[in-house]
Symmetry: C2
Subunit: 476 residues, 2 copies
């Protein structure tokens, strides 16, 4: 990279502006967010069942020094569209969708530095089993695992795991609190530091005085322990979360090291990041320990005219029905029976007035249609412009408290190639993007602070209270 | 390979003798079976937390045309030794032990042909989640997944997953029957053939008329579906099992395509394979659809004297306490408080007369000690000899109905290198070992029969009854 003074941004030159975290926002499915774009000729995301697609992408992103492969997930169908789920299947809307943890495990061997972030819901995997799968991958990857904690808001997901329907929202967060306590106990408390000796001379493989059962007993789980994996490089993986409800923000402030946002504009980001950081401080943590990562899809070109042509081209293939199914499924409204040209004002009878009010507010025009709404929602997370314009915008978001971006794709690998070739050089010129990975684990790469050079969670994190907590449990 | 007539075994030349299946019997831990051998200077199994150990081994075994990496597993501690579990930790006896499915996923990218067999217990992973993880890996690996079905006989394992203790033996098999029904429904019945279209022109990603919810309702599980993965190359993975109790044999005869045995001699194998194959025929299957894979550790040398020196050398480092902990943990007897030189005849007071009787029978000497017992148990699965002697012995086992071997290791990679360099050439000369992989999925490689060229389970298998079973479930 050139670092000639004339091309270095003043803020970067003065050291005032930190780099952005840059994640690829992915899902092990054909149609994640940008409905319909899989049909484009250059799009390869329909090959999601093939390891080669992901290996090639992971190597490309690692070569560009992305921070993580951040895999979203659902463990059930979205809410109804057109009265059912047939259209989800027809459009490939997050179904079929494969397990992200298995895919990230398969990518651990073909990458060396990039973070491996898997979404996993508390409803899908027992904490004893989940903790062990994560520890295994953290070992095999040299400490590159992150976990995006979700509680599953989709009814079908809960019915896949034995429930009659969705658990009540705040109850899910109570459940999540117990789940986290259980895995924290296994990751942080079950094995003391220095337990694993593997001494061939004495024959002592591990010191039994430093390995503890956890005897967890809670409303949902009863877990004896000990954890079956020895401490992995990070012990607890880097923790992501995305809850934006009041209860979700509280949970985030308490547990998350990174949070994924889809905020409409920098002003909203300034307010949101400030509020959640204050909550984190009330939990005894540092606000700086919580990184905000905003989702964007980025469209660029060397001139504004070229950018406009590119936006129009991508708009021409986007599927409004798929967008509406995704948005409606997320907020519990079935937009399916409606013509996309229906004026929003006519949707009074949907019985979801609260949602529709926000729809109108988002659209911000006198007489917006459902199509306007779908496109506007998508547009809200679009950054389109020349590399300089995009970098300027990202600096505004950074000034509003955002630490990084989760790069949404129209096409795989096209959207990433476009960003890497078009935007990344400008970000590097300004010091906004790393040119080499920092050494160490993912946590060290992201924060560089905390015990053991940042490998482990800081002492202020709630997981840390289980360190040494079982030292008095008699060893059998 | 030379195929000159003078070096070809008569049976192979006539085509009468089929090749043996050759698996590596592994566990993601330091000390799997041969207690103490991790202390040997050349042993590398203590590096089990490192991906590089396994990648190197997998490539070596694939180069030698092994059929599968067969990973054993436990999800809890073995039963007490010396009144507790401290000695397990001290000796590294299957603790720590990492998740095999995550490891095999990590190996999917660095291998191309070898089978990936993971043990997974019905108690550790919800069938909806498990089915999806397996389908994901079967996709990513091009159809190379096998599942070794276990029900967990260790009390601590059950206490790690919410139970107060071990479920009763036959109850565990009832549970397993429901678990299998649930995953068969997802793998075989939820997606019809031809459902996935991915047609960029029409925009139809999948045909909703060919994707079905399963609405499973049973004593333990309630699962709505549909399966979130589209059909993987094998749909249902190759099914292994190892139950030797009467109920276990029945389960095996009904479900297994491969079964893992540790029989004491070929006569026992002839009786056992005949009995279980007859049971399979009573279930409407072909006896030939069930492959028996016998566990062996193999020690070789170019002369008998060299073999004897090698056996003595390995014996000198084996840890009798670790062997006794492993054997006792498996049969529910704590040998830990006893001097290994205790005569077996003095063990009347242990209250496990049935087990001790079998101990005496195995040992087969007038006044055997506990040490004799431990070594004898280990010796029963040892093949030591020149390559020709070993090949002769394997032919006797094959004549007794055994289809292949599960190669137990003293050291990793040493035991495999010893087999590959020493024994494999002789097996190949006799046509007992493949020199190239057959094309296709693992099931095709192992059997070469069944629908779709052997990719799928045959129609006589109980999983097949769910094909098309949900075609009438209305699509939402």
């Amino acid at each position: 990279m050139s670092t000639a003074p004339s091309t270095v941004h003043p803020a970067a030159r003065s050291g005032a502006r930190p780099r952005l975290l840059i994640n690829a926002f992915l899902m092990n499915t054909t149609s994640h967010i940008m409905g319909g774009q899989w049909r484009r000729q250059e799009a390869q995301q329909h090959r999601f069942n093939e390891l080669q697609l992901w290996t090639d992408l992971a190597r490309q992103l690692e070569q560009a020094r992305f921070d993580t492969l951040f895999f979203a997930d659902v463990v059930g169908l979205y809410g109804d569209y057109d009265g059912g789920w047939a259209s989800h299947v027809r459009q490939g809307l997050q179904v079929p969708a494969n397990d992200p943890l298995v895919l990230l495990s398969a990518l651990a061997g073909s990458t060396r530095e990039i973070g491996l972030a898997a979404t996993s819901s508390i409803i899908q995997s027992h904490p004893f089993h989940f903790a062990r799968q994560i520890s295994t991958l953290d070992h095999l990857s040299g400490g590159r695992v992150a976990w995006n904690i979700v509680t599953s808001a989709l009814e079908n997901a809960h019915r896949n795991f034995g429930a009659d329907g969705l658990a009540e929202h705040d109850q899910r967060y109570e459940w999540a609190e117990e789940y986290l306590d259980a895995v924290y106990k296994l990751w942080e408390g079950s094995w003391d530091g220095g337990a694993l000796l593997q001494d061939k001379d004495t024959g002592i493989h591990a010191d039994p005085q430093k390995v503890h059962k956890i005897h967890h007993r809670g409303p949902r789980y009863s877990i004896e322990g000990p954890h079956l994996s020895s401490p992995s490089p990070q012990r607890t993986p880097v923790l992501f979360q995305a809850g934006s409800s009041p209860r979700g923000q509280q949970f985030c402030a308490r547990h998350a090291e990174g949070t994924f946002t889809l905020l409409p504009h920098p002003q909203a980001a300034a307010e949101y990041t400030q509020r959640v950081r204050t909550l984190a401080e009330q939990e005894g943590r540092s606000g700086a320990d919580l990184k905000f990562v905003q989702g964007f899809h980025i469209i660029t070109g060397s001139t504004e005219a070229e950018v406009q042509r590119r936006v129009a081209d991508l708009d021409s293939t986007i599927d409004v029905h798929a967008l509406l199914a995704h948005i409606g499924g997320g907020i519990g409204v079935d937009f399916g029976g409606l013509d996309p040209d229906t004026p929003l004002a006519d949707l009074q009878t949907q019985g979801s007035q609260g949602h529709l009010e926000s729809v109108r507010r988002f659209a911000g025009t006198q007489d917006p249609t459902l199509r306007d709404f779908a496109l506007f929602r998508t547009r809200a997370n679009q950054l389109a412009g020349t590399p300089e314009q995009i970098a300027d915008r990202l600096e505004l978001w950074q000034d509003a408290g955002i630490d990084g971006i989760n790069l949404i794709n129209h096409t795989i690998p096209g959207s990433y190639t476009e960003f890497i070739d078009g935007v990344l050089p400008e970000l590097r010129r300004r010091g906004l993007a790393q040119t080499e990975y920092a050494p160490g684990t993912l946590r060290e790469k992201l924060t560089g602070t905390g015990p053991d050079d940042g490998r482990l969670l800081p002492a202020s994190h709630p997981a840390a209270r289980f360190r040494g907590a079982f030292a008095d449990v008699p060893v059998g």
